[in-house]
Every structure is written in structure tokens, then in C-alpha cells.
């Protein structure tokens, strides 16, 4: 590969990807054990999108995400323990137990509270970009969406204004081929629901292998540079796949076995990148295994901590309906 990153960056990206993978796995088992309340929309299989898009951002570059936010949050730097506590509804959670799995975030690291209305985050991300433009800084916003969001009215209203006003946003459409249970084939007439429709809004686009973290990162680098230079938005359509179902109770009976085999077994973003960094001699396998063990330990400890983390007092229920100040 022509632009292979420094060893430090390659390993840094792998660390993030492995953390996301293991975090989601840990949650999966906690749910199976009946330990955790609510539902769960997991990002397993989409780690390269999160890390490739967000690895080079500054803290002041905000990130907007969806009902499937864990990977994005981890990649943006939200604390694992605070995320895990949030999953248990603890007051020690990143949203004090007010948010839960679909609203995690930490604005101190630029991770906006995740948005569980499909397409809901798009105009809001544009608003943050407008604010950056009015403040005359060169911060950018990365806004994640799924393929399903491209058929929402909010998508088209947002893209129209973002294109017209050249707002510094990068839209990362994770096209995982299904909007909940419904195939993109039932939702859009052609192959690339985000990229195909970008041109009519005057927004450049790229279709990218969303399971190749280096390809995602290179596309993100180009888009971020354009936005910082005042040249406006980019739409990146990242082709990827959920390893699991849409949500906790979805067994994915609608997906062909061959399709699952291709994406999950032959094109796994974490395993592929692991192979790449070992081949490039970034690190020895023994050293990498030690790092992986360290990540697993961190996640296990966060989960153990979260199980008994403090539950909120009842008076928390009526806090922050209106802002109570910092």
C-alpha cells in the first residue's frame, strides 16, 4: 500500500478497532446473561468505519452519531468505563443514566450525545458546522449515518443546505446493506444510496471499502482537508456489514448465508487489519497478543465495575430537563 501510516498510527488504529470489537462482544455476553437492561444496536463488523473516520480528528472537531454509537464513541475517545456504566443505567455513566445505549457520548471529547432518530443527527451536525463557520475556525464535523437515513427527508434537506452553504461537515454513510431488516434493494433503485445522490447537491462523494481501515482513513483525510480549507462537505459511502442483527432480538433470518460468509468470515475488518500490520512488521505477534490481552482486561474490569456502580437517586429523574448550569 502506497500510504501505509507510521507504525505508531497503525498500531493506534488497531488498538481502537480491537477495543471496539471486544467492548461489543462483552456487551453481547452481558445481554445474553440477562445482566443488562434495554436493547442494543451493535457495531461489530463496522470498526474500520469508526476508526478510519475519527482517528485524525481534533477534540474540537465534533462527531455526530446514531443509535449504533459505541464504535464511534470509543474511536472519538469516550471513556470505556463511563460507557459501560451508562449501559447499566448508573449515575456514573457518561450520561448519568439518562441516555443509555442509544445516546452515549461525551462532549468533552467532541462526541455529541448519540441520536436514535434515523436522520435526526444530520441537520444538527450541519448546525454545528454553521457555528464553526460563524466562529471562523477550521474545525470540522464528522456525521455518521446509516444507509437507511439516506431516504429520510432530513437527509435531503440537510444535503441541500450543506452543499449550498459549503458547510464543513463530512458525512460518513455506513452502508451495511440493511435498514433494520429491510435490504437496500427494497429501499433504493441503485447501488450507492448516499454517493449516487451527492452530485445533485454539489457535494463531492466517494465510495469506499468500509472494512478497510486504511482506505477509510485515506478518504477521511481528503474530506477533512477539504472541509478545513473551506471547500465544504464530502459524502463518503462506506460499504460495510453488521456482524449481528439490527438490535438485540434480531436473528438476521433475512440475510443470505453466502453474504454473511463473505463479509463476516472473509472480509472482517479487525482480522484483516491485524494481518496487515503483522505483515508490515509494525509489531510482533507476541507483542500484539499482549496488547490485546491488556485491552480485554480493561474491558472486563470496566464491566465488573459497572455491574455495581452507583444507581441514580430518584431526584435525578427530574434533573437537567432544563439546563442547570455547569
Amino acid at each position: 500500500m502506497s500510504n501505509f501510516p507510521s507504525n505508531e498510527k497503525a498500531l493506534g488504529m488497531y488498538r481502537k478497532m480491537y477495543t471496539i470489537r471486544k467492548y461489543e462482544e462483552c456487551l453481547y455476553y452481558l445481554f445474553l446473561e440477562g445482566m443488562m437492561p434495554g436493547s442494543l444496536h451493535q457495531s461489530t463488523g463496522e470498526e474500520a468505519c469508526a476508526v478510519g473516520m475519527l482517528y485524525d480528528l481534533r477534540t474540537e472537531d465534533w462527531m455526530a452519531t446514531t443509535h449504533r454509537p459505541a464504535g464511534h464513541d470509543i474511536a472519538k475517545g469516550v471513556d470505556i468505563k463511563a460507557m459501560m456504566c451508562e449501559m447499566f443505567g448508573s449515575e456514573e455513566g457518561c450520561c448519568g443514566g439518562h441516555g443509555g445505549a442509544m445516546h452515549t457520548g461525551d462532549i468533552r471529547v467532541g462526541a455529541m450525545p448519540a441520536n436514535a432518530i434515523v436522520g435526526g443527527d444530520l441537520p444538527i451536525a450541519a448546525g454545528v458546522a454553521l457555528s464553526n463557520k460563524m466562529k471562523h475556525n477550521d474545525n470540522v464535523v464528522v456525521c455518521f449515518l446509516g444507509d437507511g437515513a439516506t431516504n429520510e427527508g432530513s437527509y435531503h434537506e440537510t444535503m441541500n443546505v450543506v452543499g449550498l452553504w459549503k458547510l464543513p461537515v463530512i458525512f460518513a454513510c455506513e452502508n451495511n446493506l440493511y435498514g433494520a431488516n429491510t435490504s437496500v434493494l427494497l429501499s433504493y433503485y441503485a447501488e450507492n444510496p448516499a454517493a449516487d445522490r451527492a452530485e445533485c447537491y454539489g457535494i463531492p462523494s466517494e465510495v469506499v471499502d468500509g472494512n478497510d481501515v486504511l482506505a477509510v482513513n485515506e478518504a477521511a483525510t481528503r474530506a477533512i482537508a477539504r472541509a478545513r480549507a473551506g471547500e465544504g462537505a464530502t459524502i463518503l459511502e462506506l460499504k460495510t456489514y453488521r456482524h449481528g442483527g439490527h438490535s438485540r432480538n434480531d436473528a438476521c433470518g433475512y440475510r443470505p448465508d453466502a453474504e454473511e460468509d463473505f463479509w463476516i468470515n472473509q472480509h472482517d475488518p479487525v482480522k484483516s487489519f491485524r494481518k496487515v500490520i503483522l505483515e508490515h512488521g509494525v509489531i510482533s505477534e507476541t507483542e500484539l497478543e499482549a496488547i490485546e490481552a491488556e485491552i480485554e482486561k480493561e474491558i472486563d474490569e470496566a464491566a465488573e465495575y459497572a455491574k455495581t456502580a452507583k444507581q441514580p437517586d430518584y431526584d435525578s429523574a427530574t434533573k437537567n430537563i432544563f439546563w442547570e448550569g455547569k
Binding site: 441516555g99 450525545p113 432518530i117 450541519a126 454553521l130 434537506e157 443546505v161 452553504w165
Partner: protein
């Protein structure tokens, strides 16, 4: 104190302009905010602000064609003329507000708020709560309401919808003094504020007494404090916007008949000043509630139940509620006047209640 006589529309404009002069983070956004040769929103409130503070516009040049101005870098504007796209207009406000700006947005007609309901109800109202105070949304959304012979989709009074959403503040100023003071308060407020403005009160043409003296100086009218528009001892009428003007007309008539009516304008629906109303009931022991919003689920229903829960022993008669009938608002002026509470209707109901 230097005072100036002005309309409600002028008072709103003065409040917004003053805040824009003082605070760089305040900006206006919406359809037709200030298009050269245009109206300035539907009701003139934002006219001139784009010219003064910078806006994206198309202006006729010497070649007789339209030329764009303020479009190369919109970041230098303080007034944004949007396409007819309610979702992104509201969403831009939510995002910008979360990022430290103070957007003041509007729609031509309040009815169009329904096109942006997700952004108002799921986003603006819930961001502070869901994030447990990590972010907050200091935005203002202005919405003209009230029936004016334009049919069912340009006529609704929508205040009660939004009172049902925790996280939104809801106000309905209806004098020039309150318009300036409450708009200033709304812009400075750290949370999303829905401002409902009655179309028939903007200019003083329909209600001559809707024009009034406004201090030139900086002042605010705090939310959650009702205004006693008229003191009385026999009967309390709680009514907002156009309806309290009609209640005042009725009260003047009743005075001649020896019935003394207290008229209270809540001004702010969220937060709501129950105390002033309970204190009035302690004095008059009779309560009538009038609003142009529909009867079922209207804010008056909540007020009525609150009084029943907390002060029923102070009442000498059942609570009387007048509201728009539960029909879409018809176009025909004759039917519209029948559906919306009238001065005559208030008078008749008040007379009956006074005798109970």
C-alpha cells in the same frame, strides 16, 4: 424612563436587534427572513435585520438580473434566508445552539412547525436531558398562530402541543411591553423556547390597543409570571393572546352590569404561574378559562384539573372553559367566528357563571 409607542411586531424586532448588537452569537434564521423587497418573515418582524447584519440574498443588478450577495462565505452573515426546509432549519438551530450559538428562528405560519416536529420534540427538547446536562440548546423558535380566514392549515393555535413536551419552554407574549421583554428573556434563556405570536396582534390594525408604550432601555420579563390585566372580585378569567383582549371587552360590559371581572394573562405556559391564579380564585371563587387552542387537551384543561386538585374548595361554581371547538378551523369567516371563542360568547358565559 424613555418610552416609545410601537406595535408588537416592532417590539419583537427591537428585542432581536438589541440582542444581535450585544451578542455575536445571536443570529436569525428562517424562510424569507430579510429578502430585499420582501416581507421580513410573514409579519415584518425580521425585515431590515439582514441588511443591517448581513444575509445571503439575491439582489437585482444594473443588468436587470439577480446577483448573489453573502453567499460565498455564509459565516459572515447574521441572518440566514433558508430554502423552504423546516427540518434543516430547526436542526441547524439545534446544532448551532449546542455549539454555543443563540439562533432565533421562525416559520411563516405556526402550522409549519409540524414539518419540523422531530427536531423540536426529539432533539431540541431532549438533548440536555439525555446527555445529563453535557449540552444544552439555547434556541428560540417563533411561530405565528391564530385564525385569520386562511383555512385549516394556516390557522391553528398550537401552544398546548408544546406544553406537553418536557424540555421546551412555551411563551405567548401579547403586548408590546411583553413582546420585547419576553423575547429578550427568550434569547438569553439557556433552553429551547417556543414563542407563539398572534397574527391579529402584530400590527395593531385588528386590536388597536395592542399598540403600546415600550421602554427603550434593556429589560426582561421573566417567564412563569402571569399578568393581571384587570382586577376584579366576582369572577376570574384566565385567557391568553387574542382571547384576553376579548375577555377585557367582555369585562368592560359586565362592569356596567355590576359584575367585577379579574382578567389574567398567563403569558408563559411553561413554566406556568399557578400561584397567581390560585390567589385570584381565593378572592373571586369563580374561574373561567378561555383559549383559541382546541378544547380537548388544551392548556386550559391542565389548568382546570390543577385547580380542581388544589383549590376545589375555594370554588363556588364549576370551572367554565371556552376554547376553539374540536374541529379543524374552517375558512368561511362566519364559521371561523363560530368556532373560535368570541367576545359575545365570553360575555354570555361569564354572565351565567356570575349568577351561579
Amino acid at each position: 424612563m424613555i418610552m416609545a409607542k410601537m406595535t408588537i411586531a416592532e417590539a419583537y424586532k427591537q428585542a432581536i436587534r438589541n440582542e444581535m448588537l450585544k451578542d455575536d452569537t445571536v443570529f436569525c434564521i428562517g424562510e424569507d427572513e430579510d429578502i430585499p423587497g420582501g416581507m421580513g418573515g410573514s409579519f415584518t418582524v425580521t425585515k431590515g435585520l439582514g441588511e443591517e447584519f448581513g444575509a445571503n440574498v439575491a439582489i437585482e443588478g444594473e443588468d436587470g438580473k439577480l446577483h448573489l450577495k453573502g453567499c460565498d462565505d455564509v459565516g459572515y452573515n447574521r441572518v440566514f434566508n433558508t430554502p423552504i426546509s423546516e427540518i434543516v432549519t430547526a436542526g441547524l438551530c439545534v446544532g448551532a445552539a449546542m455549539h454555543g450559538m443563540k439562533p432565533v428562528a421562525d416559520v411563516h405560519y405556526g402550522d409549519f412547525l409540524f414539518c419540523m416536529m422531530d427536531q423540536l420534540v426529539n432533539q431540541a427538547a431532549k438533548m440536555c436531558y439525555m446527555s445529563n446536562g453535557q449540552v444544552h440548546v439555547p434556541m428560540v423558535m417563533r411561530a405565528p398562530v391564530g385564525a385569520t380566514s386562511r383555512g385549516a392549515q394556516h390557522a391553528q393555535s398550537l401552544e398546548s402541543f408544546f406544553c406537553h413536551v418536557p424540555g421546551l419552554k412555551v411563551i405567548c407574549p401579547s403586548t408590546p411591553y411583553d413582546a420585547k421583554g419576553m423575547m429578550t428573556e427568550a434569547i438569553r434563556d439557556p433552553d429551547p423556547v417556543m414563542v407563539f405570536e398572534h397574527k391579529l396582534l402584530y400590527s395593531g390594525k385588528t386590536m388597536a390597543n395592542a399598540v403600546g408604550e415600550v421602554p427603550e432601555e434593556d429589560y426582561t420579563v421573566p417567564f412563569g409570571k402571569a399578568a393581571i390585566r384587570r382586577e376584579g372580585k366576582d369572577l376570574t378569567i384566565v385567557a391568553n393572546m387574542l382571547m384576553w383582549y376579548r375577555a377585557m371587552e367582555a369585562a368592560e360590559e359586565l362592569e356596567k352590569e355590576g359584575i367585577s371581572v379579574e382578567v389574567i394573562d398567563p403569558r408563559s405556559l411553561v413554566p406556568f404561574d399557578y400561584e397567581t391564579i390560585l390567589a385570584s380564585i381565593c378572592k373571586t371563587h369563580k374561574l373561567m378559562i378561555v383559549h383559541e387552542d382546541h378544547y380537548t387537551g388544551g392548556w386550559g384543561a391542565t389548568l382546570g384539573s390543577y385547580v380542581a386538585e388544589n383549590a376545589i374548595m375555594d370554588l363556588d361554581a364549576p370551572i367554565v372553559r371556552l376554547a376553539a371547538l374540536d374541529t379543524p378551523i374552517p375558512f368561511s369567516p362566519k364559521l371561523e367566528n363560530y368556532v373560535v371563542p368570541s367576545t359575545a360568547g365570553i360575555l354570555e358565559a361569564a354572565r351565567k357563571l356570575a349568577k351561579m
